[in-house]
């Protein structure tokens, strides 16, 4: 036996190695059956084969009731003039399970053109026999043609939301399938109303499933059901706490056999369509909050990898450089924020462009998110494009994992002059960007404190300044006025005093005369006249002589007679000063003449 097996497997290996793969030998059967019920085990082969060997140990668990019944189908197709012919051979056995349990049917083998092929293996679950759903409860009273709501029993038909996990972290993906369970004995005619669940609190992504609902057999609570998947969705919880998927309802059209009311009814309208509304039960999902996140956590939950690529690291100024960052993996890829790239400040940076390519399969959402950072270095030099640190939460490990891209060195050389100048001019035009707003800082230095409500204005000191300045002005005015007046009066004073001074001199002269001091006498008379005229006429003594005095006197309309007298007196005096002394008579006469002349001057020279 073992020897045979080894040979078979050896031959099988050879067959795989040599034979073209287009030989297919497939075994199929329902995966869930009831105890005591017949079921088919069929083999299909696309080539003519012989010597079909049933799987070993098959008869231990199953009764072979019938078989093999062979069948052949030919499929000829012509596409663009090419004809292809496919022939399928089938072998069918009718089996019945002996015991409950889960069985594996090992591969069967068949000989095709002298080579042995093995089929796949199968798993079959056998459950105990089920009671038939009570069909067609009542007969007569139902009106025909209209659909009616019936209750078929919760065990026979129900719908539920199957969650892959019930206890997750926020952002961790859950696969939710809306499954319809139907007792195999209830024929479904179609759907009337389908209200699929709304997943509140989740970010959802639908998994594509075929439009046509494929019913498969499945054992649930030890019963066989036809199970159809109505919808598959990947859920990403966005809130913490208990999230509830609210119940939803389906209305199905079910064919029911109607009990014959009469003999003829057996021939007509033995079936009718009824409506069955089924409601799912509520499903709770417990969402845990993520632990304290590191700084560069971009809300990625799952399992990711990060890669980056730079378009060039040898560029000239104003060349565009693209740094492509690819985040790939399984998880909430669409919800991952763009990582921030810290570029040197004088780079012209454009908004990053992000594209994502996410496939949703039964294993969850997988795919890539590609972020392109476009920037232009403005000035030459060596720059470092820093590494991007990317942290994500791994729900399996329950911790954060940080991955990083490499650093890049960017060597920028000077580009053509023309370009750079135009760009720089636009760069210079940039306004100051307001980053934040805050009040201005406190004032420093001398606080300049004063008594509250004190102002210099309105104080007596304030008004005093006005008053004092006005007073000062008036005082100044008065003083100035007086001074000016005085200045103007000096001549007048002298004029006024001239007569008295002259009289004093004449008096002195008369005194000298009495003492017989001739010289002093004449001298005094001359001085009296000179002083008098100088003061009266406003001529300085230095400029005064007889001629100028006469001229001035004539201008002042003094009579010739008086002038002649004056000339006579002065001539006599000058003469007498150097001549020998005269008699006292003559001096007396001269004195009198001088006196009278003086008084006449006084009368005639008014000013």
């Amino acid at each position: 036996m073992i020897k045979k097996l080894i040979i078979y497997s050896f031959l099988f290996c050879i067959a795989i190695a040599t034979q073209a793969e287009n030989t297919r030998f497939v075994m199929s059967a329902q995966n869930a059956i009831e105890l005591g019920k017949q079921f088919r085990l069929s083999f299909t082969l696309n080539e003519r084969g012989s010597n079909l060997k049933l799987p070993a140990g098959l008869s231990d668990n199953f009764d072979i009731l019938m078989g093999p019944s062979t069948g052949q189908s030919t499929n000829i197709s012509m596409i663009n003039g090419r004809t292809t012919q496919v022939v399928n051979y089938s072998y069918t056995y009718i089996l019945r399970a002996k015991k409950e349990g889960e069985y594996e049917i090992r591969p069967a083998s068949i000989n095709v053109n002298g080579k042995v092929f093995e089929s796949n293996s199968l798993k079959i679950q056998v459950v105990k026999a089920q009671t038939k759903p009570s069909q067609a409860q009542t007969g007569g009273s139902q009106t025909q043609g209209s659909t009616q709501n019936v209750d078929l029993g919760k065990d026979n038909i129900f719908v539920r939301v199957a969650m892959s996990k019930r206890n997750v972290y926020r952002g961790e993906q859950i696969i939710a399938s809306v499954k319809l369970y139907v007792n195999p004995n209830i024929p479904i005619a179609g759907f009337d109303e389908v209200n699929l669940p709304t997943y509140e609190g989740f970010y959802t992504q639908d998994i594509e499933i075929p439009q046509q609902i494929n019913f498969t057999r499945e054992v649930y609570n030890d019963k066989i059901y036809q199970v159809g998947i109505l919808k598959k969705t990947i859920l990403f919880p966005q809130q913490n706490g208990q999230l509830v998927v609210e119940p939803f309802s389906l209305a199905l059209l079910v064919q029911q056999q109607v009990k014959a009311r009469s003999f003829f009814d057996d021939f007509f309208s033995t079936h009718r369509t009824v409506k069955a509304t089924i409601t799912s039960s509520q499903v709770n999902v417990n969402v845990k909050d993520l632990p304290a996140a590191p700084a560069n956590f971009l809300s990625g939950v799952g399992n990711f990898n990060i890669k980056s690529d730079i378009s060039s690291n040898q560029v000239t100024t104003n060349d565009a450089v693209t740094l492509t960052v690819k985040i790939s993996g399984t998880g909430n890829i669409r919800l991952i924020k763009n990582p921030e790239l810290q570029l040197p400040a004088d780079f012209e940076v454009y908004d990053p462009r992000a594209t994502d390519n996410v496939r949703t399969t039964d294993n969850g959402a997988t795919g890539t998110k590609t972020i392109e950072y476009l920037f232009q270095p403005r000035f030459e030099g060596d720059y470092t494009i820093p590494a991007i640190k990317f942290a994500y939460f791994d729900p399996a490990g329950g911790k954060y994992i940080t991955k990083s891209t490499p650093e890049y060195l960017l060597n920028v050389t000077k580009g053509s002059e023309e370009q750079s100048t135009t760009v720089i001019s636009s760069l210079r035009k940039e306004d100051v960007q307001l980053i934040g707003q805050d009040i201005r800082f406190i004032k420093q230095g001398n606080p300049a404190l004063r008594i509250r409500n004190y102002t210099f204005f309105g104080t007596s000191g304030f008004y005093l300044i006005y008053a004092i300045s006005t007073l000062l002005f008036i005082l100044l005015f008065i003083v100035y006025r007086k001074k000016a007046k005085e200045n103007a009066n000096i001549a007048l004073v002298r004029n006024k005093k001239a007569n008295s001074v002259a009289k004093k001199r004449l008096k002195a002269a008369s005194g000298f005369m009495k003492k017989n001091n001739n010289e002093a006498f004449y001298e005094e008379i001359l001085k009296a006249f000179l002083g008098y005229l100088s003061d009266k006429l406003g001529i300085p003594i230095a400029d005064l002589n007889r001629d100028s005095a006469v001229l001035k006197l004539q201008q002042r309309n003094v009579t010739q007679e008086v002038i002649d007298d004056y000339i006579e007196v002065t001539e006599q005096c000058e003469f007498a000063r150097y001549a020998p002394a005269e008699g006292s008579e003559a001096r007396n006469e001269l004195y009198k003449k001088a006196e009278s002349t003086m008084s006449r001057f006084e009368k005639q020279i008014k000013k």
């Binding site: 805050d438 406190i442 005015f477």
Partner: protein, 257 residues
């Protein structure tokens, strides 16, 4: 002899008073420095209490109110910040920093009020008046008056006709200018003395049509708003908003600037 001792005693007394005054001044300056240091190290609460302590001594200045307003702003008390900025603004009407911070603080005020546009000449007058505080205007007024006296002197004493004529006109300009600046100073002084503006401190207050709780509700105003007090009756104040609305509210809800 007695005259000389009297003179000496006066001198000593004067010296004591002056030194006392300067001592208080010095103490406040020290407090001021301390408060500024607290502000710089972001200990705003301490800064507030020290600034208030300086105010307790009965002294004030625009800078002090400004810094106190800043400290209140940083502690999150926007109403008091606005109050102190407004007080600073009364003393230094044309300070750009005060204006700026007041504007920022006013962003927190819920009630938004559009000013009634006043005629252009009034706006000009206000803007010119607010250019300087009262004392600067007084100084300018005094200067202009003295200039007037100088021109008057020229007019009276000059012998040249051209100088006389020029001095005459310049003198008239100077005295008119002095008069105007005097009135500006007077206006500013009145603003300081009267303080007929107030800041609303109640989070939400209903303005009534009469000074009683039974009065008709006219409108609602929220904290931080600046209002003008136009009248008062027992514990009620009649207020006027910048948009011209008037009404009565309890005086516990407002604090005078």
């Amino acid at each position: 002899m007695t005259k000389k001792t009297f003179y000496n005693i006066t001198l000593i007394l004067l010296g004591i008073i002056l030194s006392l005054n300067s001592f208080a001044q010095e103490e406040n300056t020290q407090l001021w420095e301390k408060a500024n240091a607290y502000f710089t190290t972001e200990e705003y609460q301490q800064a507030v209490s020290i600034y208030e302590q300086i105010l307790q001594t009965g002294e004030e200045s625009a800078k002090l109110y400004f810094n106190l307003g800043n400290a209140y702003y940083k502690t999150g008390d926007v109403n008091k910040a606005i109050l102190n900025y407004e007080r600073a603004k009364v003393l230094a009407p044309h300070d750009a920093d005060i204006e700026f911070n007041l504007q920022i603080a006013n962003q927190f005020v819920v009630t938004k009020i559009e000013d009634i546009p006043s005629p252009f000449f009034l706006r000009w007058k206000t803007s010119v008046t607010n250019k300087y505080p009262a004392d600067t205007w007084s100084g300018i007024s005094i200067g202009a008056f003295i200039l007037f006296l100088v021109f008057l002197g020229f007019y009276i004493f000059s012998r040249k006709v051209s100088i006389k004529r020029m001095a005459f006109w310049l003198g008239i300009i100077a005295i008119v200018f002095s008069g105007f600046t005097f009135s500006f100073a007077n206006h500013q002084k009145r603003k300081i003395i009267n303080r007929n503006h107030a800041i609303v401190f109640c989070p939400r207050v209903t303005v009534k049509s009469s000074p009683a709780q039974t009065g008709t509700d006219l409108f609602l105003i929220y904290e931080g708003l600046k209002v003008e007090i136009t009248d008062s009756l027992s514990t009620w104040k009649e207020i006027k908003l910048a948009d011209g609305n008037e009404g009565w509210l309890p005086d516990s809800c407002i604090v005078k600037i």
